[in-house]
Symmetry: C2
Subunit: 424 residues, 2 copies
């Protein structure tokens, strides 16, 4: 991990994987096939891509029970507690319909309704991610979404990880389907005989999943296409190097393209962290990944002033930001762009990944400039409500008609003017 | 306009114009050129596509003054009043940062910040749309966006419509650039020597504008790609046929692909509206457009029961919905999907286009199932805030570490565990 000056800080933005022409073509084919041939096509693709031959996609009651029995009680307890914390935080995000009434009898407002159905993609692979289940499903449930449909790719044995099934069970999600890849996204977007269609699809996946989400966008809603994980730490001389290094490495182990950056005004800390990162790296099970990530996308930006350090953070607009300084709350107002902000020495980033309550689905790659953590608002939509009174229309009809005519829309003007008959 | 049974109601969803391969290629070229060559490229495209040769793109003080002088005072007054109404409604949408503190010292919250800069595309063509300026700019201003940049294509004379400039002036927007098409979107996304880059681009445009917005999405945020306008009217026998017909035609005149649908249980009303639409059509200046729209996308769905009528509305998920019935407020809770809901006989749809206050940028083509009118939330983003206390970490560190290890992420576990040194 190199120590550099702010002026040497190159952009950390990594180009989004748009897939190859061939991959895109293949995804389009898969979607078209699933759209027209439904389950039959899903079955074929599951055999081809997952090497799993399934009679039915839906996870059975027995499979759920087996998963529950396979994990020890203490762990179930931890998951339950995490789910409760996440639910409690998201409950606070709920917004309500409102209206405003005028003396002339007019009422204007905003009605909030949940979307009907949400689909969650839970990635497969070596690691099981029950936390992904929680972070995608709970905001939807809190929003009041009636139907949550989960899809996750099966292994060659036709099974899905116990941790994922346990997490689904804890949340009461029964519609879990053993389907992955672009075929899963197509099934969620357009429905098949057994897999119900949804209105919004969230959750991370490989390049095929990301491309399929882009393709179906518009017919259904999707969440942001997530990039590699990122952490930036803003620290002064009060920070402990071992802790900072450990937190940087917690992101570096995710992916060789993850980025981890320390921004500080303390030369002592910079040097100590550089050393610590090296010494902690070697003993990590995922050392190869973490080392590559640190080499390519890790850096320590040594700034002249604290103001320069803060500016650097806002330029990066990191997914995760830790502030470890004398009085971190004092810095909060200066931070303009960050997905999640962790304050003080005890707010190690993994606290937020699993347990504290806020969502771990966060804007990456500088998109914190304009996007937000996954939240309850993502699963509701607004409708404007307009109840115009006779008095209001009498007062304003000529103004509205004139405005419409200026824009060249005569039928608009006449529509309001027909009401004049009512008070003639 | 045909009267049909509910069972004959075909989907009104129109396929989104994805452009031709050639158009997409051309848009990609334009974006690449503007990205590398800046103003020079913008100048060339403006000459080629708008036949306008401009020395500078920025609208000058003199041009603003001229526009102001060219419009009469009464009209300026109407625009000012409309802007005030729109601002008042959007002020009510503002949300605030919040936090929640636990006895153990932990503080969790959500910080709201505006995006730094917003870009608005105002379409050109024959009609000037000051209302588009209001509806796109005001939510951004209310959100606290510091910089609003407006672009609009110049005519061959190098000028932009007075109404648009007047609307910008009323809102205090000074950064108005005479640039249109894909080149304008590229300039907003990546900036040029004279046109500042923004974080989010909103506003409707032709297919080149829509394609360009899709291309730059991810580097900046965009609003939904809008489809043709739509109205659905849910009415019972208390409705007046002349008013219903006039309101249907107010959407039909927008575009030959606009859709206008009456859903009713009253056969008398259905027949009367059918007749009225025909007789009102002929005298409209935009009769050709409206007739084509009514023929292709207009219909009267006659339902057996009111419940069936309500279901039909929810299936359509219309952009604009009028409810003209005995007690429209009683119906509000049954409506699940609609961009804007107009209640009662005086709430003619054009009331909402210009004047009442709610936004006229609404979800089209059934996307009201999952999206919302343009609103203040579109110009802010959230950051989670996590300040974990020492006590909370002591209590939970082992659970968090265990959760991390289950997901195969050892560095995550170690990051929280390093803190144990502090209470050893």
């Amino acid at each position: 991990m190199k120590i550099i000056n702010k002026s040497d800080l190159k952009s950390l933005r990594r180009s989004v994987d748009q897939g190859t022409e061939e991959q895109r073509k293949s995804v389009q084919d898969i979607i078209a096939q699933v759209k027209t041939r439904g389950d039959e096509a899903v079955k074929e693709y599951t055999e081809r891509f997952d090497q799993a031959s399934l009679e039915t996609f839906k996870v059975s009651k027995e499979e759920f029970e087996q998963a529950y029995a396979s994990l020890d009680g203490a762990f179930v307890q931890i998951l339950q507690e995490a789910a409760d914390n996440i639910r409690a935080f998201h409950e606070k995000q709920k917004t309500t319909s409102w209206f405003d009434s005028s003396e002339d009898g007019t009422l204007l407002g905003q009605k909030i309704t949940p979307i009907d159905a949400a689909g969650v993609y839970v990635p497969g692979g070596t690691a099981a991610y029950p936390s992904s289940v929680f972070m995608n499903v709970i905001p939807a449930q809190v929003a009041g979404v009636e139907r949550v449909v989960m899809v996750t790719p099966p292994g060659k044995d036709g099974k899905v990880p116990d941790g994922v099934l346990l997490a689904a069970q804890i949340l009461g999600v029964e519609d879990v389907f053993k389907v992955g890849g672009a075929q899963a996204i197509a099934a969620l977007a357009y429905g098949t005989e057994t897999i119900p269609s949804v209105d919004k699809i969230t959750g991370p996946g490989n390049v095929f999943v990301a491309l399929a989400k882009r393709e179906v966008f518009g017919d259904v809603d999707i969440d942001m296409i997530a990039g590699p994980s990122e952490i930036a730490i803003l620290a002064d001389e009060t920070a402990r190097a071992e802790e900072i290094a450990a937190d940087l490495l917690s992101q570096a182990e995710h992916d060789a393209r993850s980025s981890s950056v320390l921004v500080t005004t303390s030369e002592r800390l910079a040097k100590a962290v550089e050393k610590e990162v090296q010494s902690q790296l070697d003993s990590l099970p995922r050392a190869d990944i973490a080392r590559k990530s640190v080499e390519d996308y890790g850096m320590i930006a040594l700034c002249e002033t604290w103001a320069e350090a803060v500016d650097t953070i806002n330029e990066i607009a990191p997914e995760h930001l830790e502030i470890v300084s004398e009085d971190p709350f004092q810095e909060l107002g200066k931070i303009k762009h960050a997905g999640a902000i962790f304050l003080g020495p005890y707010s190690s980033e993994p606290v937020g990944d699993y347990f504290a309550g806020p969502n771990h689905v966060l804007p990456t790659n500088g998109t914190a400039r304009f996007s937000s953590p996954l939240n309850v608002d993502d699963f509701v939509k607004k409708s404007s409500v307009i109840s115009y009174s006779r008095q209001a229309l009498e007062t304003n009809v000529d103004k509205i008609a004139r405005f419409a005519r200026l824009e060249g829309l005569e039928a608009h003007a006449r529509a309001v003017e027909t009401r004049k008959e009512r008070w003639k």
